[in-house]
């Protein structure tokens, strides 16, 4: 069990900057998920924490100890790989004990740890099997077991669920959450799947192009994204964006107008006349009956039915598409004209540089 501190971490391959001045503090026992599009540097960051890739600058502390110069095994970490990376020529038991031989764990202790991990992960019957005889989910559990028996200070997961099918992904996700509850260990988890991030994390780190865009609790990221990137990345389907402009300011109250939606009042003292804005509204916050300042009109073009709700794609006045989630059995029909409304709390406003504009509506 340990905390993890990353300071001014940089990584360059030749002239390309892969990671740019990363600062991150992870508390003891915290479950942190690194999420971002592919190529954002999240896996590189994880490999640098593990010690598999060297840093071009900056420090990594694990449990208060500077580990920059330490080998992976000396850092007190255990890593679970996307490909599971089980030793194909060893059975499950040997896979789990192989590393322990070299770290001075006596045989009786090794057996005890394997037995405990096997019980926790329901692997008891599989201990004498070889990886080729296991299903994907079982292999993943063995990979996790191999990490557990090392009793590491920090667990590192590199997209552990992306090789599993959808049903297994959900059940393994629950198992990992349970595991964290039982072990109470520090976990750093990399994924590109925002559902995994939202469901598992104590805190989410959203990364983009080698930089951290925002760090926060899942619901904070959802309800108050710090910038356009996070707003568009978290949530599915993605947030609708509308280009807008400040028309008039009167005593801290700005009138925001744009193509395709009705202009509305916004209580944001920092805005000035002529400011270019982006207004964001999530599909699930657009409703027909709701009451609110934001209203957008469109013609239904396409409807995706999911069962408990449907996604309607509407074409608005400026000929762009936006999405609205419609709950209940009553699905809209294509060609129908609809006016959709969002409440004041659900309207996100971003300035020209993409940063969130704080409004008093949120309070």
């Amino acid at each position: 069990m340990a905390n993890l501190r990353i300071e001014h971490l940089n990584k360059r391959y030749g002239a390309t900057k892969v990671l740019n001045d990363i600062n991150l503090n992870i508390e003891d026992g915290e479950f942190v998920v690194l999420v971002g599009p592919s190529g954002c540097g999240k896996s590189t960051l994880l490999r640098m924490i593990a010690g598999l890739d060297g840093a071009s600058g900056g420090d990594i502390h694990i449990a208060g100890k500077l580990v920059n110069a330490l080998a992976p095994a000396e850092r007190g970490i255990a890593m679970v790989f996307q490909s599971y990376a089980l030793y194909p020529h060893m059975n499950v038991r040997k896979n789990m004990t192989f590393g322990l031989k070299f770290t001075g764990v006596p045989p009786t202790e090794r057996e005890r740890r394997v037995a405990e991990a096997a019980r926790m992960l329901r692997l008891e019957e599989l201990l004498d099997r070889y990886p080729r005889d296991l299903s994907g989910g079982q292999r993943q559990r063995v990979a996790i077991g191999r990490a557990i028996v090392r009793e590491p200070a920090v667990f590192l997961f590199d997209e552990p669920l992306s090789n599993l099918d959808a049903a297994l992904r959900v059940s393994t996700r629950v198992e990992i959450a349970n595991l964290h509850r039982m072990l109470k260990s520090t976990i750093v988890y990399v994924t590109h799947d925002q559902v995994e991030a939202m469901t598992l994390a104590d805190r989410i780190v959203v990364m983009n192009r080698g930089c951290i865009e925002q760090v926060g609790r899942p619901l904070d990221l959802y309800y108050a994204p710090a910038n356009l990137f996070v707003a568009g990345f978290i949530g599915s389907p993605a947030m609708n964006f509308f280009e807008a402009k400040v028309e008039r300011v009167e005593s801290g109250c700005a009138r925001v107008a744009g193509a395709g939606f009705r202009s509305f009042e916004l209580s944001a003292p920092s805005l000035e006349v002529g400011d270019l804005l982006t207004v964001g509204v999530r599909p699930e916050h657009l409703g027909r009956g709701a009451d609110g300042p934001f209203a957008v009109e469109g013609v239904v073009e396409l409807v995706e039915r999911l069962g408990e709700s449907s996604f309607a794609y509407l074409r608005r006045a400026d000929n762009r598409l936006f999405v609205a989630e419609v709950r209940g059995r009553q699905t809209p029909t294509p060609g129908e004209r609809a006016t959709l409304v969002a409440g004041a709390r659900d309207v996100h406003v971003f300035d020209a540089s993409g940063l969130r504009v704080s409004t008093q509506n949120e309070a």
Binding site: L52, F81, F102
Partner: protein, 277 residues
């Protein structure tokens, strides 16, 4: 299968069968005639031995007159020790060159690949001088050293290709597990290289076992001769003892065939691995 495809497949097989006959024919002829009397060898060279022509005289002579068992054990020692060293050092060098980036690693890889292109026999005179001044003249050690040098470049080249196919995650996982580098090589990488090692083993063994040149220039006494060289003593300038030559040659073929049969399953896996996932 359409008629055109069938015709193509037929012609391909025809060529392959012709080639097989061409390759196997002489060997069959040698083995067949080694069991015949001298008069029958010349009288009807293409006929198989029958009740009247069957004779073991060649084998009897070989065992009586020559140090055939010494030659045999010399050949075995030289071949097996060379093979073991080529595989060990070849695999280790291939691992180092593919896994680690160090100053001069590219230059070293290029240097080693030159060994594939330049035949080692070009250096015969230099090798002879070196062995003589090292006091290794007329020893099996000299042969082993030469064969290791001859086999290494190709084995490094082939094994590097195979090592690159082993998933990187596996080595990373072992490193996270705290496995020392040398144990990663011997206990994680090497077991996965088995098919590749069988392939390299066959490619290494055959030319060494069949080599005549280096035993001829590097060994001079009966105690260090190999089988291929030993056979030569039956080939005289004026008289050739064909019974003995054919018997000795038949015996020389045997070990290579045995080793090939043992390794062939692995060999086929090695040659085709990577073709399908």
């Amino acid at each position: 299968m359409s008629g055109k495809q069938r015709a193509r497949s037929f012609s391909v097989h025809l060529i392959l069968i012709a080639y097989s006959l061409l390759a196997v024919g002489p060997i069959l002829l040698v083995v067949m005639n080694s069991f015949k009397m001298r008069s029958a060898i010349f009288g009807a060279p293409l006929a198989p031995p029958d009740a009247t022509t069957f004779s073991l005289i060649g084998y009897q002579k070989v065992f009586r007159t020559a140090h055939i068992l010494t030659y045999y054990s010399n050949s075995l020692i030289v071949t097996l020790v060379s093979m073991a060293l080529v595989l060990l050092f070849g695999a280790m060098a291939a691992w180092a060159l593919t896994e680690y980036r160090f100053r001069g690693s590219t230059a070293l890889a290029l240097f080693l690949s030159i060994g594939i292109m330049v035949p080692i026999r070009l250096g015969s005179v230099a090798i002879l001088n070196m062995m003589r001044s090292a006091g290794l003249n007329d020893t099996l050690t000299a042969l082993i050293l030469v064969y290791v040098a001859q086999g290494l470049p190709m084995s490094i080249f082939i094994l590097s290709e195979f090592i690159q196919q082993i998933p990187k995650d596996l080595r990373d996982a072992a490193r996270c597990d705290g496995v020392p580098e040398i144990r990663i090589f011997f206990e994680v990488v090497a077991p996965l290289l088995r098919p590749a090692i069988a392939t390299v083993a066959v490619f290494t063994i055959v030319p060494i076992w069949n080599d005549l040149w280096f035993p001829l220039i590097l060994t001079s006494s009966d105690t260090t001769h190999t089988v291929t060289l030993g056979v030569q003593q039956f080939l005289g300038q004026y008289i050739t003892d064909w019974n003995s030559v054919l018997a000795a040659l038949s015996m020389a073929i045997l070990p290579v065939v045995v080793i090939y049969v043992i390794l062939s399953r692995q060999l086929i896996a090695g040659l085709t691995s990577g073709a399908v996932k």
